[in-house]
């Protein structure tokens, strides 16, 4: 009878253990399915500034397109079938990375086209992936001019190597702002036969000290990528500074504490700690009595 109950208990313990292990194996089992990464590489050139690749990695996971962070990506330059590694980069928490290009390192092919590629060699969760982008070097020359008391922005778009004017390309003209740029001029400003646009700048656009930072952008062109020229134009309306930075406010720096607060807190501290001193001196008086 005793043996029977022992074996029953042993069976129960074994079954519980087995089911528990099954549960554990389910929790820790590796998901064999690897996700496909989608890479995107956009070339951006800032006139008299940096040129870089904007890289973005996403993956479709459970019907939702999500950014892929911490992805190691190699960047290379393809020249006549040869891949010259330019460097490596890693995506941030938004699945993005900006890879700065050293213009002197880049080599073009016989058609003056630069062929850049990015590749990810795969890991436990994602399959390998690659993406390439091609562009020719273009530049924008932008200037501020004034005619009949009206300010204009003029910009000329040229292909750098051939120095040929680029006609019929749409350029965006916009004022830099914190969240998104403020577009000015027509919706589409196409370059004329001189490769030039002329956009009037409205009066009354606010800027710090009246300075406007105006961008002329060839946006995401198939042949040239994104090319951006920046012009500082002192033609805006100065913003009146309403900052309380130098005033004594509750939100100011510590050396700008409001006077009432300084008095109230220090007075409270003085009263309380004054009483503490009195009480501690009373302890001494008790011990002397």
């Amino acid at each position: 009878m005793k043996n029977r109950s022992t074996s029953r208990s042993a069976f129960l313990v074994w079954t519980t253990g087995f089911l528990f292990c099954l549960g554990l194996s389910n929790i820790y089992a590796q998901n064999d399915e690897k996700y496909r990464v989608r890479l995107r590489a956009d070339y951006v050139k800032i006139m008299e500034g940096d040129a870089y690749l904007n890289i973005k990695a996403t993956a479709k996971i459970e019907d939702e397109t999500l950014p892929v962070p911490n992805l190691e990506i190699a960047v290379y330059n393809e020249v006549e079938g040869e891949e010259i590694i330019l460097g490596n980069t890693k995506t941030n928490m938004k699945g993005e990375s900006r890879f700065l290009l050293n213009k002197s390192d880049l080599k073009a092919d016989s058609t003056n086209t630069f062929n850049l590629g990015i590749s990810f060699k795969g890991n436990d969760s994602f399959k390998k992936a690659s993406k390439s982008t091609s562009f020719k070097d273009a530049h924008i020359e932008a200037n501020l001019i004034s005619k009949d008391s009206i300010n204009y922005l003029t910009a000329t778009l040229k292909e750098t190597v051939t120095d040929s004017l680029l006609v019929g390309e749409a350029l965006d003209v916009q004022v830099q702002r914190l969240f998104r740029p403020l577009k000015i001029g027509e919706e589409f400003n196409f370059t004329d036969e001189n490769g030039t646009i002329l956009v009037p700048i409205d009066k009354g656009i606010p800027g710090l000290d009246g300075n406007l930072i105006i961008e002329v952008v060839l946006n995401d062109s198939d042949s040239y990528g994104t090319v951006k020229a920046i012009v500082n134009a002192p033609v805006g309306t100065p913003i009146v500074d309403e900052s309380t930075f130098d005033q004594r406010k509750m939100w100011s720096a510590r050396n700008k504490t409001p006077i009432f607060l300084l008095i109230f807190i220090n007075l409270t501290i003085a009263v309380i700690y004054g009483l503490f001193i009195l009480l501690i001196s009373n302890l001494f008086r008790i011990s002397k009595n």
């Binding site: 510590r254 501290i269 501690i280």
Partner: protein, 438 residues
């Protein structure tokens, strides 16, 4: 043996028995484990916690708020009852003072535990910005520690002198220490006058300082423009909550000490009944502030507030929310309404319910708000959208609670938990004035 000697025998601190030793040992072990976890936290950084960009305050801060609330028991019982001349306070007042000191000391430690770089603690004073409620907190906590200490120490002086005499032959070392700590107390008129005046000053100070402490603690939250915290009700809400938490802790500790030390003749059913009535009133006040805090936003809340309230009432935090409201507040009120519920044993259960409810209540005040920002949580790993304390956080937090209990335990071991002199006077066992004069 005279009645007076018998009273001293009853109330003088005693060596721990087997249970007391085991209890102390367990507390020490928990503290050591917590200390190891804390050292590891310092070594590795706060990455060992589950606090991240959004949930940047977690269990440490809710535990800190709990300690601050519990420390209010000093103001609640000692000062309020003293100033309203409630003589029933005598047997519980010292226990309240001990809890108050232990809690506020541990509140100070807990805030340091939450700091990523505790070595920069001094910067809080050096670079203090007086507009910040955090600076006010940094000022008020050491102030409260000093005040709680004085609140405990002044009334202790006559008892320490009694213990010096009591232990003169049996424990000369103890007697020597009690003598030193009693500051040559002889009970002279002059000494009594100074002591009485000092206690009066402390009793008056304790109330505004206690309210300041609770209010500043509340303002740490309500001065930030965040859902669930941005409320003008917060100061009063925290103060009424502190009454409840403090009295809950007091009732629990009083019951345990009474049982362990066999003080049934001194802490009677009458005292529990009085404590129960006091707790009942404070619970009702707290219910009122809870209604203000949670019901009004249901009428006029913006969408974000609604998300927050839904998470509390039906969502992820519903379990903890309803536990703290029902177990920590509603059930105690219902129990305390009946005379049978105001007996010692039901009161112990009520005390434990209130303390547990109060602790979790602080958790749901701190954490859910942080995970409901105005702008959606984006660009962070999925795990950062949630918060539940890590093992390190639990071990350290439990250790701080154990540390508070150890401080209380040590005070109980070495100090008379019921004022001897005052009890003797109330029982007419001392002709104090004549003795002092002679």
């Amino acid at each position: 043996m005279t009645k007076y000697e018998s009273l001293i025998n009853d109330l003088a601190p005693r060596k721990f028995g087997k249970r007391g030793t085991i209890w102390t040992f367990i507390l020490v072990v928990i503290i050591i484990i917590g200390l190891i976890a804390y050292i590891d936290q310092i070594r590795q950084g706060q990455v060992v916690t589950n606090m991240r960009d959004y949930a940047l305050w977690g269990i440490y801060i809710s535990n800190f708020v709990f300690f601050v609330a519990t420390s209010f028991v000093g103001s609640a019982t000692v000062a309020v009852l003293r100033l309203t001349n409630n003589s029933w306070r005598t047997p519980v007042v010292r226990i309240a003072e001990i809890i108050s000191l232990a809690s506020i000391v541990m509140a100070g430690f807990t805030i340091m535990i939450d700091m990523g770089r505790p070595d920069r603690l001094l910067n809080l004073f050096i670079y203090a910005r007086l507009q910040s409620p955090i600076t006010w907190d940094v000022i008020i906590i050491p102030t409260s520690i000093i005040l709680s200490f004085l609140l405990l120490y002044f009334p202790l002086l006559p008892d320490l002198a009694i213990l010096k005499k009591h232990h003169l032959k049996t424990k000369p070392t103890f007697s020597k220490w009690y003598g030193k700590l009693s500051l040559n107390w002889t009970g002279s008129k002059a000494q009594k006058a100074i002591q009485s005046k000092s206690i009066k000053i402390i009793a008056i100070m304790v109330i505004p300082v206690g309210i300041l402490l609770q209010t500043i603690d509340a303002w740490l939250f309500s001065t930030t423009y965040r859902i669930g915290w941005d409320s003008t009700n917060m100061g009063a809400y925290f103060t009424s909550g502190a009454f409840v938490a403090g009295l809950g802790a007091l009732i629990t500790v009083v019951y345990v000490i009474r049982k362990v030390r066999g003080l049934e003749h001194y802490i009677t059913d009458y005292h529990f009944d009085k404590l129960a009535q006091y707790l009942l009133v404070t619970c009702l006040a707290y219910v009122y502030f809870n209604i203000n805090e949670y019901l009004i936003p249901i009428f006029n809340a913006p969408a974000e507030e609604e998300i927050h309230l839904n998470a509390l009432v039906y969502g992820d935090y519903a379990g903890i929310f309803w536990f703290s409201q029902i177990v920590g507040l509603i059930l105690p009120i219902l129990i305390l309404l009946f005379k049978k519920g105001r007996k010692p044993l039901p009161m112990l259960i009520v005390g434990i319910m209130v303390v547990l409810g109060s602790w979790w209540k602080r958790y749901i005040i701190v954490t859910p708000t942080l995970l409901h920002p105005f702008l959606p949580i984006e660009g962070v790993p999925e795990s950062w959208h949630h918060y539940f304390p890590s093992i390190h956080e639990w071990l350290i937090t439990v250790a701080t609670l154990a540390m508070a209990l150890l401080i209380i335990t040590l005070f109980v071991r070495f100090l008379p938990v019921i004022p001897i002199q005052r009890t003797a006077e109330e029982k007419g066992l001392l002709k104090t004035d004549k003795k002092a004069e002679s």
